[in-house]
């Protein structure tokens, strides 16, 4: 009996040891990954744990509204130019123009549009292709998609009522539609 208890106790200890190693690794990897410091040591550790965290889905960043919130109101529209030359304005759902119910369901579009920024240029042709596909017309197919960004900067006037600043317009990207995009 004593021998059995001793063996049982050893196996519990071994299990705890294995779980502790698992915990130590995960706590260390997650902390090094998510803290906002870029020292050479931390970068080196991140490089070591990167394949595992990306594979397992444990990568994370908690930078909501940080280091600062957006300081401009923006939205993106697309101009669809058809083969016969006529144009159509296509709009991403704008949350402020939707009902309370709809904006709760369509918020992913806001997030996607927020990501259509210069750091993610790879998304521009993707968005243009999808807009072309949404607007396909076999008799008169879209030939060009032009992504247009509108923005209004916010100036912080803490004293006094808020006055929106003027809106600006910028052509973000022009895409020549390929026949394969419409299939």
């Amino acid at each position: 009996m004593r021998e059995y208890l001793s063996r049982f106790s050893n196996s519990v200890k071994l299990k705890q040891l294995a779980i502790s190693a698992f915990l130590l690794f995960h706590i260390g990897a997650i902390i090094f990954w998510s803290i906002p410091i870029n020292s050479p040591l931390i970068t080196a550790v991140r490089n070591v744990v990167r394949p595992y965290l990306l594979w397992s889905g444990l990568f994370q960043s908690w930078d909501m509204f940080a280091p600062g919130p957006k300081s401009s109101n923006t939205y993106i529209e697309a101009v669809v130019v058809y083969k016969d030359g006529h144009t159509r304005n296509w709009k991403f759902p704008r949350m402020e123009q939707l009902s309370f119910n709809e904006r709760y369901r369509k918020e992913r579009y806001r997030k996607f549009v927020e990501n259509l920024k210069e750091e993610n240029v790879v998304l521009w042709p993707e968005a243009a292709r999808h807009i072309a596909w949404l607007n396909k017309d076999p008799a008169n197919p879209p030939e060009f998609i032009i992504l247009v960004r509108h923005w209004s900067d916010m100036a912080a006037h803490l004293d006094g009522p808020y006055h929106p600043e003027p809106w600006h317009v910028q052509i973000l990207y022009e895409y020549k539609v390929k026949p394969a995009d419409l299939t």
């Binding site: 397992s56 444990l58 940080a66």
Partner: protein, 311 residues
């Protein structure tokens, strides 16, 4: 301090058995959050993840190379298969919520959640990230040990007694640590920004048209309240990331955190984010308080409506 005392503290923190009530209650709330997230996405499943999605699988692989736990990489790129994946995901989330085949369901939910987030990282918010990382540790937790169909089956088969047996809590601790880290690093990131330090951050947030939800009272937009609100948010995030581990501060902080997230849920349109985070608050509740709260609720429910009067 001796090395042994550190080892003892570690073992006490991670391995001291605890009632499975908090993690089981979390499992239910977590499952509801996943189901709600899927439901809100339902109309756009194929727009975001289908064969004609906004971001193609090929582009996503190019931007995010390397091996990933991602079912999209192995199923045929066909809208039928993709929709089937979502229905399986929904079924797993329902099973997890009711606690049937709990561990397998938890693994399936995590795998599906990871899959859809890896498929399009450009539409996820921090609430989704929290569900993903908490979901990983939930697989290892004794989440079906209470408030579950699995337990009812075990009771019926005579494999368990009526009293809940304490279980290992290391996985629960990891989810608690994730929540704590979320707040602490959110505070840390914000403290690096000028607008949070000078007290104007809230001004920009409340004037962002795209993120506004319900109207807020005019007095909140006054300079004094903007600054106070900005700094209170910072202080609260710091406290929820650190002081929550001190017993005496825990419940007051959870209450403040609850009010904080409810005010954000009212004013900001970030679907499910606040509920995803709040779901993990129950992990900080004492099991006996959960029992007491349940008894209190049951006293308010007529006896013929109540399904189970005790936990």
């Amino acid at each position: 301090m001796r090395l042994q005392s550190i080892v003892d503290g570690w073992n006490q923190f991670f391995f001291a058995p605890q009632s499975p009530l908090p993690i089981s209650l979390f499992r239910i709330l977590y499952g509801i959050c996943v189901i709600a997230t899927l439901g809100l996405l339902h109309g756009d499943w194929l727009s975001w993840f289908g064969t004609h999605s906004w971001v193609s699988l090929a582009t996503m692989r190019q931007v995010e190379p390397g091996a990933r736990l991602n079912i999209f990489a192995i199923i045929p790129q066909n809208d039928g298969y993709i929709q089937a994946l979502f229905w399986i995901f929904l079924a797993a989330a329902i099973l997890l919520t009711i606690g049937l085949f709990t561990r397998v369901s938890a693994a399936a939910v995590f795998l599906c959640l990871n899959t859809i987030q890896q498929r399009d990282l450009y539409i996820t918010h921090s609430g989704d990230t929290f569900l993903r990382v908490a979901g990983f540790f939930l697989i290892f937790a004794p989440a079906g040990a209470a408030l579950s169909i699995d337990r009812l089956i075990r009771l019926r088969k005579g494999k368990e007694g009526a009293d809940l047996q304490p279980k290992s809590r290391w996985a629960t601790r990891m989810i608690q640590l994730e929540l704590s880290l979320l707040y602490l690093t959110a505070f840390w990131w914000k403290s690096l920004g000028d607008t949070w330090v000078n007290g104007t951050a809230l001004y920009y947030i409340i004037h962002l048209d795209e993120i506004r939800r319900f109207p807020i009272p005019q007095w909140i937009t006054q300079s004094l309240f903007i600054k106070l609100g900005t700094w209170i948010a910072l202080a609260l995030e710091f406290a929820l990331g650190t002081l929550i581990w001190i017993k005496e501060f825990r419940y007051p902080l959870l209450l403040l955190g609850l009010l904080f997230h409810l005010s954000l849920e009212y004013s900001l349109n970030v679907p499910m984010f606040q509920w995803d985070i709040l779901s993990a608050y129950v992990l900080f509740l004492r099991p006996e308080d959960i029992v007491r709260a349940w008894s209190g609720i049951m006293k308010l429910v007529p006896s013929r409506v109540a399904v189970s009067r005790s936990l």
